[in-house]
């Protein structure tokens, strides 16, 4: 059996994949992973996971163009420029003090 080894370097940190060991069962995997990944106190904890228990996901279908769920799904630059231009063209020549200046940074 192949066990994937994940190690945590300090308490509170994420476990990171470190390598794998081959062992007939979890008890042997425990002994070997301790020896390989912990004998100098370099890990606070290990996760040993039988490789065939890992369900891997690598295919990411996007038939419906789901970009609207993300920041990069919105391109507002052109529309914003157009809207500002439109607003300033329609603005009356005289108006309240300072209140109609467009915000450059928006």
């Amino acid at each position: 059996m192949i066990f994937e080894v994940f190690r945590q370097e300090k308490k509170g940190q994420a476990f990171q994949h470190a390598g794998s060991v081959v062992a007939p069962d979890a008890a042997f995997a425990d002994a070997w992973a301790r020896e390989q990944y912990g004998r100098r106190g370099e890990s606070t904890a290990l996760w040993l996971v039988p490789r065939n228990s890992i369900h891997q996901v690598t295919e990411w279908a996007d038939e419906f163009d789901l970009k609207y769920r993300r920041v990069d799904g919105y391109s507002i630059k052109t529309r914003l420029a157009e809207a500002r231009q439109r607003a300033s063209a329609n603005r009356p020549a005289t108006s309240g003090v300072g209140s109609t200046e467009p915000h450059e940074n928006q």
Partner: protein
């Protein structure tokens, strides 16, 4: 080259890394297995010259440090064989190819050790040359290999210190001790200069093309010379190469290494090649019962 392979090549050349489950071109997989297997073999064979000195180490501390180093190196071999196994070659086949002479291991592990000076030079300079190659593997296009190199490079960093400490103890000792170090350096210099391989242009080196390695042979050798020749000189040691010098442009020049010797040694004709393979073969056979027992568990 088909378009899928072309795309893969462009991906790795742009710094991309792939995982064990990804599609790999056959040629890439074959090159990767050959390279990784040779690395694993070198770790496993590399402990034999040092192992000989565990019983003869001068102090208890040195004996313990050397034992720990041997354990580390065998551990590296196990990690690296594991990565190669995942690429499709069973470990038993790799060990069989090693002892039959079909697969290679690094040139520096084919030579004898005569004195404690050799042990110091191996742990300091052979490990230094090796760590330069190994650090370049941290960026390997095959990610599972790159990941285990983190642990390996970390452990190599104290092996180098162990070697340097052994050398410094001798260099601050008696004239006879200093002589032992100089003699060992004289023996190891030629194999060290051959270690990184012939100066093939990196863009013609398949291991670089596929980004298995991230630097060329000559770049690695220049890095070794730049890092370690000044450290050798400052101790009052002499490098046995009258042509060795650093040019104004920062490039080291040196006497041409003996490439025929390198080829002959790595194909199993070194002074200790056959003894060490026979030793390894003996133990693989003797310890078969352990593997059988564990696999039956």
């Amino acid at each position: 080259m088909d378009s899928r392979t072309q795309e893969f090549l462009a991906f790795v050349q742009a710094g991309g890394q792939v995982e064990a489950g990804d599609w790999l071109p056959d040629e890439y997989r074959a090159k990767l297995v050959k390279f990784i297997e040779m690395h694993a073999n070198s770790e496993l064979m590399g402990v034999l010259p040092e192992r000989e000195w565990i019983l003869k180490a001068p102090t208890l501390q040195r004996k313990l440090a050397l034992t720990a180093k041997v354990q580390d190196e065998v551990g590296h071999a196990q990690l690296i064989y594991r990565v190669a196994e995942d690429l499709g070659k069973p470990r038993a086949d790799m060990l069989a190819d090693l002892v039959s002479g079909k697969a290679k291991f690094h040139n520096v592990f084919h030579y004898p050790t005569y004195t404690w000076g050799d042990v110091g030079v191996i742990a300091w300079l052979v490990d230094a040359a090796a760590i330069i190659s190994q650090k370049a593997l941290l960026k390997c296009s095959y990610a599972p290999y790159a990941r285990i190199m983190k642990k390996i490079c970390w452990e190599e960093s104290f092996h180098i210190l162990h070697g340097r400490d052994v050398i410094l103890a001798m260099m601050t000792g008696t004239d006879a001790q200093r002589e032992l170090v100089q003699e060992a350096l004289n023996r190891w210099w030629a194999p060290l200069m051959q270690f990184h391989g012939n100066p093939i242009a990196r863009d013609e080196d398949p291991m670089y093309i596929w980004r298995i390695k991230s630097q060329g042979n000559e770049e690695a050798r220049q890095q070794f010379l730049d890092g370690y020749v000044p450290q050798i000189w400052e101790l009052g040691l002499t490098v046995p190469d009258p042509q060795l010098a650093k040019n104004d442009d920062g490039v080291w020049v040196y006497g041409e290494p003996d490439w025929d010797e390198l080829m002959s040694v790595v194909t199993g004709h070194g002074p200790r090649s056959q003894d060490r393979l026979a030793f390894r073969k003996h133990f693989i056979e003797q310890e078969k019962w352990v593997r059988d027992l564990v696999l039956a568990a």
